[in-house]
Structure formats: structure tokens, C-alpha cells
């Protein structure tokens, strides 16, 4: 007797209407036993639990979603302003930190000479704390930057590629993001944060293209941008790095708190 192939067994399990296979299973112990095993295996998969969401889940989704829907232009203008201010503050802050670090590097040898025997234990924490502040600062600004970029990529990815899209506000916002993107990319490269630097380097051409797009994107331009975002898996990478940066940020914060409390 010719037994059922694995494909036939699977087809039988999913009730694909193969009458011959159905009849065979009814009369063949071997195939019935194979089918039982298949049922048991798939029963395991059936019981793979799904995390239960609370009744408020829909509300939570809506809360996260609300700002992205409707009133886009007004919101985009507000975000544009906020991004510009944040970028300016971040630039000033980073500049200050680098200036501070450089001044310390220049001053330290003089101090060493003046005091002859510098207290090593005191110098090390000062330099550690300065470096950790810079790390923390970089993580905070990059995290905000990635959030803004993610929102923009999401808007583009979800745009209807069959219709032109008014991107007056987005284009302006992209221009601001390009400027900060460059600074953060260079800083990340200098600090050896290769993953962040590589992501920012992928992000830059998209932001640049959008910033030069004027007020309207044609369907072809939307499709090209979407293809570019998709081809590089940009949205996903932004999310991954963003999550990692947030993780690092909290780790750095708790480390600093721990050091401060000692």
C-alpha cells in the first residue's frame, strides 16, 4: 500500500479536500499515526501564548497614535520650531563640552607641574565624570534626534505613493535634522560609536533629499524615497539603534547616579 506523502498528510490536516488521501487515512494505521504526530506537533504551536493586553491597550495605542494623525501641518510647524531650538541647544551644549574638555586637557599638565604630585585618585574621577557626561549628552541628543527622524520616516513610509504629498513643513524639518545629523554623526564617529555613526550616515541622504524636495513630493519621488527607506531597512534600524541608545542612556544615568552616591 502506498502511504501518504508528507505533503499529503499536511494537506489532509488542513482539510484541503483530497478525497483519496482522506480515504487512505481512514484505512491505514501507519498514516493515521503519522497524522496524530503531526496533530500533536501543531497542537504545541497552538498553545504558544500571546501576551494578554489590558483593556486599556486600545487607549494606549490611540494615545501614541493621536499626535501623528490629522492636524499634521500645525503640529509639524510646532515640531519644526522645537527641533530647531533643540538642535541649537544641543549644538551649543556639545560645543561647550568639547571646549571644556579641551581646556581641561591643556590645563592639566600645568596643574601637574604646579602641584608636583597630583592626587591621581582625584584626577581620574574628574576625567571619568567629564567623559561620562559627554557620553550621556551624546546619547540624549541622539535619542531625541532618532525619535524625530523616526516620525519623519514613518510619515514618508505611510504616504500614499499614488498621490502627490504636501511636504512644506516636513522639508523644513528635514533641513534642520540634516544639520544636527551631521554634527551627531561626526561626534559619534569621533567617540567610536560606529553603529550610531553608520545609521546616521544612512539617514543623511534621505533627510537631505527631503530637505531639497520643496513643497510637494510627486508620486514618483514618494515611491523613490519609500524604496530607499525600505531598501536600507532604515526605519527598522532607527528603531533598533534608538532602543539601544535609550538603554545605554538609562545605563549611563544609573552608573552616574551610582558614582555620585559613593
Amino acid at each position: 500500500m502506498q502511504h501518504l506523502t508528507e505533503e499529503q498528510l499536511i494537506g489532509h490536516y488542513y482539510d484541503d479536500g483530497d478525497a483519496l488521501a482522506d480515504a487512505h487515512v481512514g484505512s491505514c494505521d501507519e498514516c493515521r499515526s503519522q497524522l496524530d504526530t503531526l496533530r500533536d506537533v501543531l497542537a504545541l504551536v497552538n498553545h504558544l501564548p500571546i501576551p494578554e493586553k489590558s483593556e486599556a491597550y486600545g487607549e494606549e495605542v490611540w494615545t501614541r497614535l493621536r499626535w501623528k494623525l490629522g492636524n499634521g501641518r500645525r503640529r509639524a510647524r510646532v515640531w519644526g520650531t522645537i527641533s530647531a531650538i533643540a538642535a541649537a541647544l544641543a549644538l551649543a551644549f556639545i560645543g561647550g563640552m568639547f571646549w571644556h574638555a579641551r581646556t581641561q586637557q591643556i590645563q592639566q599638565p600645568a596643574t601637574v607641574v604646579a602641584h608636583n604630585t597630583p592626587p591621581a585618585s582625584a584626577a581620574a574621577p574628574a576625567s571619568n565624570s567629564s567623559s561620562s557626561s559627554r557620553d550621556r549628552l551624546l546619547l540624549v541628543v541622539v535619542s531625541d534626534h532618532l525619535d524625530s527622524s523616526e516620525r519623519m520616516l514613518l510619515e514618508l513610509s505611510n504616504a500614499d505613493p499614488k498621490q502627490p504629498l504636501d511636504v512644506t513643513a516636513e522639508s523644513k524639518r528635514a533641513g534642520e535634522l540634516v544639520a544636527s545629523n551631521r554634527i551627531y554623526r561626526q561626534t559619534a564617529t569621533r567617540r567610536g560609536e560606529t553603529r550610531i555613526a553608520s545609521l546616521l550616515s544612512d539617514l543623511e541622504p534621505v533627510l537631505l533629499e527631503l530637505s531639497h524636495s520643496g513643497s510637494t513630493l510627486s508620486p514618483d519621488e514618494i515611491a523613490a524615497l519609500q524604496k530607499r527607506i525600505d531598501a536600507k531597512g532604515l526605519l527598522f534600524k532607527v528603531r533598533v539603534v534608538s532602543a539601544q541608545v535609550s538603554g545605554q542612556e538609562s545605563a549611563t544615568n544609573s552608573k552616574t547616579k551610582g558614582t555620585n552616591s559613593l
Binding site: 488542513y14 504545541l44 500571546i50 491597550y57
Partner: protein
């Protein structure tokens, strides 16, 4: 669903409250399909959000004769598929995503002690989750659509953009992989006789 239709009509005419009602009533269902497909709670949350964003943008294309839940379900499947594809590309780029496997195993372990979770030991859950993780994105999608959603093979082919036969084989491959991984758990010994 008649209620859904009325709410969808209001949402289409720009009523944000109506869209909020749709989000609130369909989020859990969207999450379930997204979680099954991605095997990861965080990804599933992202998919739910993208699903509604996409639905909102495409609301004008929704045919009122259709069922909103089914339509949204299709969007959630597509969003999950996009995410799986993107993840697969990123995995190649970054040399694997150890977090996914860990998450899949931990998905059960992060349990909230529900009754159904008690049906399997944590270890068993991890093995089943790991077996699901071994499926390629298209195998996983095809399997989920066939096994959990009961979607006909022709529909699965359309969703994945492949021929019916290819869809059929993708499902078979998925089931075979699962069987290879999980059969020892249901049939402890396989004698070479």
C-alpha cells in the same frame, strides 16, 4: 459590524473620535495577529501602531461593503511582513539579531501567569518559540495565515505575492521545519527500526 460601518463612515469624513473608537476596539485583535507573526511583543506593538497609521491613510480606499476588521487584519499582516523583511535585512547587515531569539524564548517567560501559559512549561514554550524563530519570514507568515487565520492558500499567495503552488510549498516547508524541531517533544524516541 454594522456599528463599525457607521463609525468608519464618520472616520472617513475626518471625525477623529470615530477613528479613536476604531483604534480602541480593534487594537487587541491587531496585536494578536502581529504578535503571532512577529513573535515579539515590542515588534507587535510597533506593528499595531503602523497598522492604524496605514489604515488611517488608506481609509478612503476602504470599501464600505467589506468588513473593517478583516480589512485591518490584512493591513496588520502586511505591516508584520514588512517588519519581518526589514528585520531579516537588518540581521544580514548587523550579522544576526540575538535579541530576537532571546525575546522569543522570553516571550513566554515574561509571563503574566495566565491560565493558558501554564499549559506548557517555560522550557517547552521556549522550544516552540525557537522552532517558530527558525522559520523564514515568508514561511512564518504563510504558516500563521494558514494555521491560525485559516486563510485559503490562494489568498496567502496573493498576500505574499507568490503563486499558489509556491504558497503551498512554503506552508509545507514551515510545517516540516516545525515537525523536525518539535516531534521529539511529542514522540520522545524515534527508533531506527
Amino acid at each position: 459590524m454594522t456599528t463599525d460601518l457607521a463609525v468608519v463612515s464618520r472616520a472617513r469624513s475626518g471625525d477623529a473620535d470615530a477613528f479613536r473608537m476604531l483604534v480602541e476596539s480593534h487594537s487587541n485583535a491587531a496585536f494578536r495577529v502581529a504578535y503571532r507573526m512577529t513573535g515579539n511583543e515590542h515588534d507587535a506593538d510597533d506593528v499595531v501602531q503602523e497598522t492604524f497609521l496605514r489604515a488611517y491613510k488608506q481609509l478612503q480606499h476602504f470599501e464600505e461593503r467589506a468588513n473593517f476588521g478583516t480589512w485591518l487584519h490584512r493591513i496588520a499582516v502586511n505591516c508584520s511582513l514588512d517588519l519581518l523583511r526589514a528585520r531579516s535585512r537588518a540581521d544580514k547587515h548587523y550579522g544576526g539579531d540575538p535579541e530576537s531569539a532571546e525575546l522569543a524564548g522570553a516571550a513566554g517567560a515574561r509571563s503574566e501567569a495566565q491560565q493558558d501559559r501554564l499549559m506548557m512549561s517555560v522550557e517547552l514554550q521556549a522550544q516552540v518559540a525557537a522552532a517558530m524563530e527558525r522559520l523564514s519570514p515568508s514561511e512564518r507568515t504563510a504558516f500563521i495565515l494558514r494555521h491560525f487565520e485559516g486563510m485559503p492558500v490562494e489568498e496567502i499567495g496573493k498576500t505574499l505575492g507568490i503563486q499558489v503552488n509556491a504558497a503551498k510549498h512554503t506552508i509545507f516547508r514551515a510545517v516540516r521545519k516545525l515537525r523536525d524541531s518539535l516531534e521529539p517533544l511529542v514522540r520522545p524516541t524515534a527508533c531506527n527500526t
